[in-house]
């Protein structure tokens, strides 16, 4: 019997050790029903370890993890039919076709009426139904993995790095599928080290570094509360513009291309600068404003670049 709970996933003081190595260090978070929750972090940060504990592949060292109100340690058999999982580095039987693979997994869930055609439509694989797994491209394999994760019409879907290793086109194809899931109102737990993926898909992003959650909020709120100022870049006709901005109390920096970079706190400041330049008769050839993104948020919070790994430190996924 399905029980309605406010949080699809509840994690409290979760810890995972491999010998002396702390992979997940006392983290707590909740995932609401129907939201897309993204774990964002570099390789080795502890994303996969966490998601694999929550989706019942691994056992925690300590802490409480509940999925749909059930304890992952004690009630795995009841949890499994209600979740769908795309594990990291998903693979399937080489010589089994797309349709046969879908049928196989639907039989493992003892489903007589699984909507295999509908799922193949959803992930745009219908024309590959008779293709063997080994002959599919990386993107198609991932899409099949997502379709398999949905074969039991799960209430919670876990997708562990669904687009890693895919080319930009294949990545976008997978994103389209995930946006479809979001529209359907599925609860999705996603791990990724692509900030644009988290920004595009997630309602809530948890930034994880070295086994700890260091920030958690909506992407917009994370950027709002953590990002540095906006950067206004001016390409002036003459040097008068520099003086005008300087006199307004900002700290303009002239770069090698004779462009002026100005850090501003609010969009209102941009308007004030532009008005002042107009009043002083300082003409501009062009200008642009750079908005901060999650990459910059991550850099600010951790001191590490998001896609460079954990500062070369050996980590456990």
């Amino acid at each position: 019997m399905t029980t309605e709970v406010e949080h699809a996933i509840e994690v409290e003081n979760l810890k995972k050790l491999y010998g002396n190595l702390v992979a997940v260090d006392d983290i707590s978070f909740n995932v609401r029903q129907g939201e897309v929750f993204a774990f964002l972090g570099p390789n080795g940060a502890g994303k996969t370890t966490t998601v694999e504990i929550v989706d019942t592949i691994r056992r925690p060292t300590s802490g409480k993890v509940r999925v749909l109100g059930m304890d992952v340690r004690k009630e795995k058999r009841d949890i499994v039919p209600r979740i769908g999982v795309l594990p990291q580095g998903f693979s399937s039987f080489d010589r089994i076709t797309v349709r046969e693979t879908m049928q196989y997994y639907s039989r493992l869930f003892c489903l007589r009426n699984a909507d295999i055609d509908g799922l193949m439509d959803l992930v745009n694989l219908k024309d590959k139904a008779k293709e063997q797994y080994m002959k599919l491209s990386g993107g198609l394999k991932q899409r099949l993995g997502i379709a398999i994760a949905l074969v039991n019409n799960p209430e919670v879907v876990f997708l562990d790095e669904p687009t890693t290793g895919l080319d930009p086109r294949a990545r976008r194809e997978v994103w389209e599928v995930l946006l479809g899931l979001k529209k359907e109102g599925k609860t999705v737990f996603l791990t990724t080290h692509y900030m644009e993926e988290a920004e595009l898909l997630a309602d809530t992003v948890a930034i994880i570094s070295r086994g700890k959650i260091i920030a958690m909020d909506s992407p917009a709120q994370l950027i709002e509360s953590n990002a540095d100022n906006l950067v206004l870049t001016l390409h002036p006709v003459d040097e008068k513009a520099f003086e005008v901005v300087w006199k307004m109390g900002f700290e303009p920096v002239l770069n090698n291309h004779k462009n002026i970079n100005v850090r501003v706190e609010r969009t209102d400041d941009i308007r004030k600068i532009l008005n002042a330049l107009k009043d002083a008769g300082a003409s501009l050839l062009s200008m642009d404003v750079r908005k901060p993104n999650l990459e910059q948020v991550f850099l600010k919070l951790t001191g590490e670049a998001l896609n460079d790994g954990a500062s070369g430190e050996k980590g456990v996924e």
């Binding site: 499994v80 039919p81 594990p87 046969e100 997994y105 039989r107 493992l108 063997q132």
Partner: protein
């Protein structure tokens, strides 16, 4: 246990097998090749015929009789060596392990012994032989036996101690018939052990086991489907082996309910051992090495190829601790000797072992990672 889940796994395994042409080829042809090769080697074991080189230095009708007598025993194919050449050199040059030399005065000494009853008259037949050859001792023993009979015949008195042979079996069995049940047991063991170890380590390395752990399939469902799959392969390969055995070697074996029972127990035992190995050894290459370490002692020490009597006493005792021994002997008891009582007792022993290994296999199978 969920039959629908077991069935789903079985269907996928069979489809993969059918589509892996090389796997299918080796599953069916390897046991057939074994039967053909070893069957041919052992087919005429009961009527062994050795090559024997004879150099007759006497070149008389009487000396020629020796070669004829030796040929008539049916144990030797005679090759004559030119009396003018050196026998030792001939043996070395032609890689012959024995040359029998009939001396020059053979006929004269023979006449003197028989007609003049001269007790001092004798001849010396010389064996020029290669002591490093494994079959030369057997040849010399047979030759000694033939010459002892000739001496006894020449003495004119009938034998006092005579021998009679009574087989405990109602008909005479050929060695190839003894050998085939052993090969069936061994082929089923090899396929079950390696099939399980290879498939499970490959699926684990590819991450498929990790995915399966997030589905409702249980360890029991998984092992049972592995056993069923291996049983189907075992039936295919056993059928192929039996067809070839009947067609090529004209064997007379009893095919009854004991055969599928022992095959099932063989499969249960070695799929179970394979599951335990997969748990202990994680990497595919190490798992194959571990499977080899189990397979080779079973293959050579449990009496699949050779009767246990040929082995030293301590190895015979050791053989009785190997599960394959009970499959070999149980199959022989049922297929060759029609001995239901032995088949029953051996099936009980291997059945108990198979049940234990199956339970440990289920307990050892672990899909969740880390603790």
């Amino acid at each position: 246990m969920n039959l629908r889940v077991v069935g789903a796994n079985l269907v996928v395994s069979i489809k993969i097998f059918y589509r892996e042409k090389t796997a299918m080829f080796f599953t069916t042809t390897f046991p057939i090749l074994l039967i053909l090769v070893f069957g041919t080697i052992f087919m005429d074991r009961d009527k062994v015929s050795f090559n024997l080189c004879v150099q007759d230095l006497d070149q008389t009708e009487t000396s020629a009789e020796i070669a004829k007598t030796l040929a008539l025993t049916g144990k030797f194919k005679i090759t004559r060596v030119d009396p003018a050449i050196d026998a030792t050199q001939y043996a070395k040059n032609n890689k012959v392990n024995i040359v029998l030399i009939i001396p020059k005065d053979y006929e004269r000494s023979y006449t003197q012994y028989l007609q003049f009853d001269d007790p001092n008259a004798f001849v010396t037949i010389t064996y020029v032989y290669d002591p490093s050859s494994s079959s030369v001792v057997a040849k010399m023993q047979i030759l000694d036996m033939v010459f002892a009979r000739m001496n006894q015949g020449l003495s004119g008195k009938p034998s006092f101690v005579r021998t009679a042979e009574i087989s405990i079996h109602t008909r005479e069995y050929r060695f190839v018939e003894f050998f085939i049940p052993g090969i069936i047991a061994m082929a089923v063991m090899t396929a079950s052990l390696f099939g399980t170890v290879n498939v499970n380590t490959e699926l684990r390395q590819k991450g498929i086991i990790r995915k399966l752990s997030t589905t409702p399939i249980t360890h029991t469902d998984w092992i049972l489907s592995n056993i069923l799959y291996q049983f189907i392969l075992a039936v295919i390969s056993t059928t192929a082996m039996l067809v070839v055995s009947y067609a090529v070697f004209d064997v007379k074996l009893r095919i009854n309910a004991w055969l599928p029972l022992f095959i099932v127990l063989d499969v249960f035992t070695f799929v179970g051992i394979g599951m335990i190995l997969t748990r202990i050894v994680k990497e595919a290459q190490s798992a194959t090495a571990a499977a080899n370490a189990i397979m080779f002692p079973m293959m050579f020490l449990s009496g699949s190829f050779f009767p246990l009597e040929m082995m030293p006493g301590f190895l015979q005792k050791f053989a009785r601790t190997l599960p394959l021994y009970y499959v070999n002997e149980g199959l022989r008891a049922s297929m060759v000797f029609n001995d239901n009582l032995t088949a029953l007792s051996y099936s009980a022993i291997i059945g108990t072992f198979a049940a234990m290994v199956f339970i440990v296999g289920i307990m050892a199978t672990k899909w969740e990672e880390g603790t």
